[in-house]
């Protein structure tokens, strides 16, 4: 916890301000934005997750270093365009707004009373290579050795000691750029290098002062020497914002269009580069001839090597946002010239974002390259020039005033005839109004150099004659009498809306609320924009919060007194909640069936149930309802009555004869014949394939068969694929042995009988595989009898017997449920004989000529009666379902 030093309130460790009084707290810990761990204030990286706690941005001079905070987003900084110069031309520039070398220029500039106004150019009109330079306060780029010969030493030394913000110019491209541009490639804003005393004679005073640490007033340019220097240099010492210089029509032709357009209010297309002059200039200058100024030329990979990074970065597509307009200043262009250039030209930015009507073809500071400002080329003046300018001055001496030749790429594009090389560009593009651009919040006066200080930094007389690079010299007009076009101080005029904006205006749509009386408009003549139709539809009908209707709110003449809409009338108060548009119609909900909802609910419950939850409770046993119990009781009573009648109540006499004859079965006679044909001592294998549950039904069927076999005195072998089958076989054989006296005569010893029976038993595991193994390995036998209560048991025996093509016949004793499934085998002669169910056993006995006993008769009677009862109940239920079901459905 952190205690506030002001009010003493305890605050959390990560708090920056006191919760009670708002006082800034001395933080002792910093919360990591990634993992939330508290780290000491001095940590750069988190102790736990190694996330960066401090932002990567550099410290701005004059500001406190940004401490790591919870909301700090490290590593990424947005790219922001520089704001326009401050409206207050009296404000002194700060060092963090402009590079040091320019800043010194501004401070050393003298009064610019005699300096003509320089038309500031908006950053958007500037070539890209100049526009990009405005984004960051950059020091002069470094000058490589290859380019050193081309530029004066005083320019070469600028920024050479320390890297500046703009990227460095590679050696390959160094030849193409002047030194002062090359210096702009240095990474860090650097203070201008001090000019040694030995070289001080070569440099003008204003440049000499660049090495001084304290800002000095820019040296004044003597009137006599004023003509020697171009306007852009002269205006650097001017204090007051000057009107943009007017370029005479005669001189206007001498300037390239891009220079002319720099003073115009609309975006002018860069002048085309004639093929003849294209070779003279690097590509980056040649690109200025493209017609679309808004889209800088893309730097191809092949050409990328020619350009430094700061030029490559000019490929941004977003146009430079027009800066804020200053109400006091009046310019040709409102958003054409960056602050540092504006300060150099001694002109402040225009307050209006709309592009003004171009008055003259003038590009601001470049338009000052008037022939009248050309210095004298006398011998004395030439001797004072730096070495790098002497040759040029001598060269020009015979041609009159030194006029910088106009490069071909800056040739006038408006005229059909190619302009003279030493003329300023001519304005070509018509004026148009720019849409209102978003004003960057970073636009502040502190970053923009003041015009006064900029103009004062570089007085005209401080600029040594010939202190211009050759290409700039060529831009100067030849005619000495060509006046510099003066920019009249005219207020900003409202431009016409572009057609595409006008088309958006719906017919009959009311306009925006008018500006309230008494409050000066931000921009004179600014017409309120029209809302598009789709926005109009979203207008609320009721002005929430104020109690007024929409019409009343629109007709209200009360102006807003606070907030961003101060001074405006007819403002619809914001509703406390978002109103639903009038035309809104809720979409009808789709009808979802209940079954789908139930299923979804089940899935949802399953998903929501956490892992490891309690095991689901077993469902309660379903208990029959009273109706079902009654039905079951009725059926049970019926069956019990049937049995009782058959077992008890039928007279004995009648019970000796079955009530109904058993149905004749075609397999019984062959069965009898096959067993009767067995010789004495024949080996018979009997497979007992039924369990305990079927024993009640199968015992009455198997027992007469075993008695018959024992009467034939055969050798029995009992096998079973079921474990309990051997036990059942043992019980049957024991009964059969006890029943048949001949076996008893031979095996009088019970134990012996048991052994014999036990040895006669075999358990065959593996179902059909066990049967196949037994049939393959067992010794030959004469007859196979299968006693089965399940269809698959008989099928295994029949299939394997058929597959192995055994010579012995197969007989089957089947239950009533198995009989229908065995009909195909019976029809295909796979089984020699068979009997099915209790009626079959009765028929078998009858076929052997054995009279059925009373027990058999009564069982047969009970079976027949129960069949009738069951059939009656089934018919009754069918009738009930037919009538009752139709009644329910009806």
């Amino acid at each position: 916890m952190i205690r506030c030093s002001k009010c003493g309130t305890l605050n959390r460790d990560a708090s920056r301000f006191c919760n009670e009084c708002g006082n800034t707290l001395q933080r002792t810990q910093v919360r990591c934005p990634m993992c939330g761990t508290m780290n000491p204030v001095g940590n750069v990286f988190c102790d736990r997750c190694n996330a960066r706690l401090t932002p990567l941005q550099g410290v701005v001079p004059g500001e406190e270093p940004i401490a790591p905070s919870e909301d700090t987003i490290t590593g990424v900084r947005g790219i922001s365009l520089p704001a326009r110069a401050s409206t207050d031309v009296q404000t002194d520039p700060t060092k963090e707004e402009i590079p040091d070398w320019l800043h010194s220029l501004l401070e050393d500039s003298s009064d610019t009373t005699a300096q003509p106004n320089v038309v500031p150019s908006s950053p958007t009109d500037l070539p890209d290579w100049l526009g990009d330079a405005n984004e960051e306060p950059a020091a002069p780029p470094e000058i490589t050795l290859a380019a050193a010969d081309e530029f004066p030493d005083w320019l070469s030394d600028i920024g050479s000691e320390e890297p500046a913000a703009p990227p460095k110019i590679t050696s390959a491209a160094a030849d193409e750029f002047p030194d002062w541009l090359s210096d702009m490639g240095s990474e860090e804003p650097a203070a201008p290098s001090e000019i040694t005393s030995a070289a001080a004679d070569e440099f003008p005073d204003w440049l000499s002062d660049m090495g001084s640490e304290e800002p000095a007033a820019p040296p004044e340019i003597a009137p006599a020497a004023a003509d020697e220097f171009p306007d852009w240099l002269s205006d650097m010492g001017s204090e007051e914002p000057a009107a943009p210089p007017e370029i005479a029509p005669a001189a206007a032709d001498e300037f390239p269009d891009w220079l002319s357009d720099m003073g115009s209010e609309e975006l002018a297309a860069p002048p085309e580069i004639t093929p003849a002059a294209a070779d003279e200039f690097p590509d980056w200058l040649s690109d200025m001839g493209i017609e679309e100024p808004a889209v800088p030329p893309e730097i191809t990979p092949a050409a990328a090597d020619e350009f430094p990074d700061w030029l490559s970065g000019m490929g941004i597509e977003e146009p430079i946002a027009p800066p804020e307009a200053a109400p006091a200043a009046v310019f040709e262009t409102s958003d054409k010239l960056d602050d540092w250039l504006s300060s150099l030209s001694g002109v402040t930015s225009a307050p209006d974002d709309t592009v003004q009507e171009p008055t003259e073809r003038s590009s601001g500071w470049l338009s000052n390259l008037d022939t009248q400002q050309v210095p004298d080329l006398s011998d004395q003046a030439v001797e004072q020039m730096p070495e790098w300018l002497r040759d040029a001055a001598i060269k020009r001496r015979g041609t009159g005033p030194l006029t910088p030749p106009t490069p071909a790429f800056l040739a006038d594009e408006a005229d059909d005839d190619s302009p003279p090389p030493d003329t300023l560009p001519r304005k070509s593009a018509p004026a148009r109004t720019l849409p209102k651009a978003p004003q960057p919040e970073s636009t502040s006066s502190k970053k923009k150099p003041s015009v006064d200080s900029a103009t004062e930094a570089l007085p005209a007389e401080s600029v040594p004659p010939g202190a211009l690079p050759e290409w700039l010299r060529e831009l100067t007009p030849t005619s000495e009498d060509a006046p510099v076009p003066q920019r009249p101080s005219v207020p900003l005029e409202q431009g016409a809306l572009p057609s595409w904006v006008a088309e958006l205006r719906p017919s009959g749509t009311p306009g925006l609320p008018e500006i309230g009386d008494g409050v000066p408009p931000l921009v004179e003549g600014l017409e309120p924009g029209e809302l598009p139709e789709w926005v109009q539809e979203m207008r609320p009908t009721v002005a929430g919060g104020s109690g007024l209707s929409l019409e009343e709110a629109l007709q209200s003449t009360i102006a807003e007194t606070e907030g961003p809409l101060v001074g405006l009338k007819r403002i619809i108060p914001a509703a406390p909640v978002v109103d639903i548009p009038q035309a809104y119609q809720p979409r009808p909900q789709a009808t979802i069936p209940e079954s789908v909802l139930d299923r979804a609910q089940v899935w949802q419950n399953l998903l929501e149930r956490p892992r490891g939850a309690e095991r689901p409770v077993a469902l309660p046993r379903s208990q029959p309802g009273w109706s079902e119990v009654v039905t079951r009781v009725f059926i049970v009573l019926m069956l019990m009555a049937t049995l009782a009648a058959a077992f008890v109540f039928i007279p004995t006499g009648i019970g000796s004869v079955p009530l109904g004859q058993p149905p004749a079965q075609a397999g019984i006679p062959p069965l009898v014949r096959t067993i009767a044909a067995l010789p004495q001592g024949a080996r018979v294998v009997v497979a007992f394939e039924y369990g305990v549950a079927e024993s009640d039904e199968m015992h009455p069927l198997a027992q007469p068969l075993l008695n018959h076999l024992l009467e034939r005195e055969v050798q029995l072998k009992a096998v079973s694929t079921l474990p309990e089958g051997t036990g059942i076989a043992y019980a049957l054989l024991t009964e059969a042995v006890a029943y048949h006296t001949s076996v008893t005569d031979i095996l009088t010893n019970t134990l012996t009988t048991t052994l014999i029976i036990t040895e006669s038993l075999s358990y065959l595991p593996g179902d059909s595989s066990g049967i196949a193994h037994y049939l393959t390995t067992a010794p030959d036998f004469d007859l196979l009898i299968v006693v089965a209560a399940r269809p698959e048991r008989l099928r295994w025996w029949v299939e394997q017997n058929t597959l192995l093509n055994t010579p012995h016949p197969t007989l089957a004793v089947l239950s009533a449920a198995t009989g229908p499934f065995m009909t195909p085998y019976l029809e295909s002669q796979s089984v020699a004989g068979w009997l099915v169910g209790y009626p079959g056993a009765a028929a078998y006995a009858q076929a052997r000529g054995i009279a059925p006993d009373e027990m058999a008769v009564r069982k047969l009677d009970a079976l027949m009666l129960s069949h009738y009862i069951a059939a009656g109940l089934i018919l009754l239920g069918m009738l009930y379902s037919l009538f009752a079901g139709s009644h329910k459905r009806g």
Partner: protein, 218 residues
Amino acid sequence: MGMEQIGALIGVTLAVLIFISYMLGDNPLYRMLLGLLVGAATGYALGMAVRFVLLPWLEQLFDADGQVQIYNALGLLLGALLLLKGIPRWAHLANIPMGLLLGVGAAVAVSGALLGTLLPQIQATGMGLTFRNGLFGFADGVLGLIGTLLTLLVFSPFPGRAESDPPPIFVWLQRAGRAFIIVALAVTFAGALTSALTVLIERGWLIKEAIQQLLVGG
């Protein structure tokens, strides 16, 4: 009362209880009886497996000279591997005997079904279309053939048409096939009903005999 009478009495009691549970529904006594039945059957089966399978294999593992019989030992080893099915870590080893069992069983079953069931029944169906057994035999054969084809048609899609758009004749044929299936299922139900009634009658007879003995003979 001898053991046979006691056993008979217990059996009768259990039978009556199970019979009553049909009316009363599920009850603890019924579940106890079911458990008793399943337990007794399982125990008996285990005893039979040990007596008639495991012990003979162990007895035949070593011959008279004390040499290990590889054939018998291999069988015991595979059986032991099958026991590892209950251990998740070693369950994969039980796949060896399982694969052997399934493979051999499938081979035996498939060959038996093909040669022991399918071919003989096809032959029988064809033989039924002759007048060997007279006119009724021939009609019986034709009826069997038609029923077989219609039953197969019920479970077969009509070629060249979507299942939702069969031709009208196909729909009627499928209805006829369903009729044959219904008759076959009815016959199967009748046989199962007869078996159940037979079991009931036998059990009822036993109960009667037991009661009669208790009341008369003691």
